[in-house]
Symmetry: C2
């Protein structure tokens, strides 16, 4: 990690505040409903200043995605560092982390259809590298857990990986939270159970 000048440190801190606001607003309202004016107001700077840091609204969203993927990779590495834990248990822990982040309103949600947004994302090497890195590490655990007999062998690893990724935007969490009758931990436990154990009774 290169030493940063004081100037650059200030800049880093400011950009971090911007990404935090974007992350929260993306989780709250989604990409289309979020406006750059809101972001600027939330950070407390002028809109034109925002554009000195990020080239476009899409670039703001990409930065938020990079940050949440960095957090995900960190969560994965923490699991990788644990001893005496099976691949299945590690996958379960990372999935639980994902659900907790979403329930806490810290998971940015992007529309899968927006083409200019997708173009910005795939043109961002940081984003691409992180997605591939996270996919690869989870993919290894999935194969291992299938070998261990903990995960079903009836599904291809690809399907399992996508199903775990999709927990980041599972609407059931929001439904249950909106009902206001359950604790966050209870909600996470239930959704984790639907994902891993399924709805059909286990004999």
């Amino acid at each position: 990690m290169a030493r940063l000048s004081f100037r650059d440190q200030v800049l880093r801190v400011r950009e971090d505040a911007i990404v935090s606001s974007v992350n929260r607003l993306l989780a709250e309202k989604g990409f289309d409903s979020m406006t750059v004016d809101e972001v600027a107001a939330d950070v407390g700077i002028a809109k034109a200043s925002l554009y000195k840091h990020f080239a476009s609204k899409e670039a703001l969203a990409a930065a938020a995605m990079v940050r949440v993927l960095q957090r995900a990779r960190q969560a994965i590495e923490e699991q990788a560092a644990t001893a005496d834990r099976s691949a299945f248990e590690r996958l379960r822990a990372v999935t639980r982390w994902t659900l907790q982040v979403q329930l806490a309103g810290e998971m940015p949600s992007l529309p899968a259809q927006n083409s200019t947004l997708r173009a910005t994302l795939v043109a961002d090497p940081k984003y691409i590298d992180l997605v591939m890195d996270v996919s690869e590490k989870l993919g290894e655990w999935i194969v291992q857990a299938q070998t261990d007999g903990a995960l079903t062998k009836a599904l291809p690893p690809e399907v399992i990986l996508y199903t775990l990724f999709a927990r980041a935007c599972d609407p059931v969490l929001g439904f249950l939270k909106a009902s206001g009758q359950h604790s966050d931990e209870q909600i996470v436990d239930w959704v984790l159970a639907t994902c891993l154990d399924g709805l059909a009774a286990r004999v």
Copy 2:
């Protein structure tokens, strides 16, 4: 069903064509990205004519939701009419129907956060009645299937109902279809399996 004059029949057919276009565009691009200009062009009439039929863009979306809910209720009633079928089998059939509709690009997708859209929906008695009707019928089957021992008793019926509803916007279907390596039936079978059987191995 009241007899309709020829004039009203023409009108009915035209509005049906409008709702079809809205339904497809909502499935394709989502509510925010869909423009009223596109809808008018797709139907082949002027935008001002559209507004003679529907008061707003939100009203268009509500009409599409009502239609897909009517289709859902019909699918439920077809299951209810079958003999020698358990509640669990009926739920599985309806869930399969939902996944097929989504994979076929016929499931309108609306942002859960948009407040003016939500206001239009909850102000529409047709929409509300259909949601309650569908929920009630599925809820009865869920309780029955739990009593039969086919669905897990570890989850409240509410959680199971939401989880089934969420299959209407499961992104895994689109991911797998985008990979282009699997048939639609294969994709539906896999996602249905993740939902009902879960990812963990069954002993």
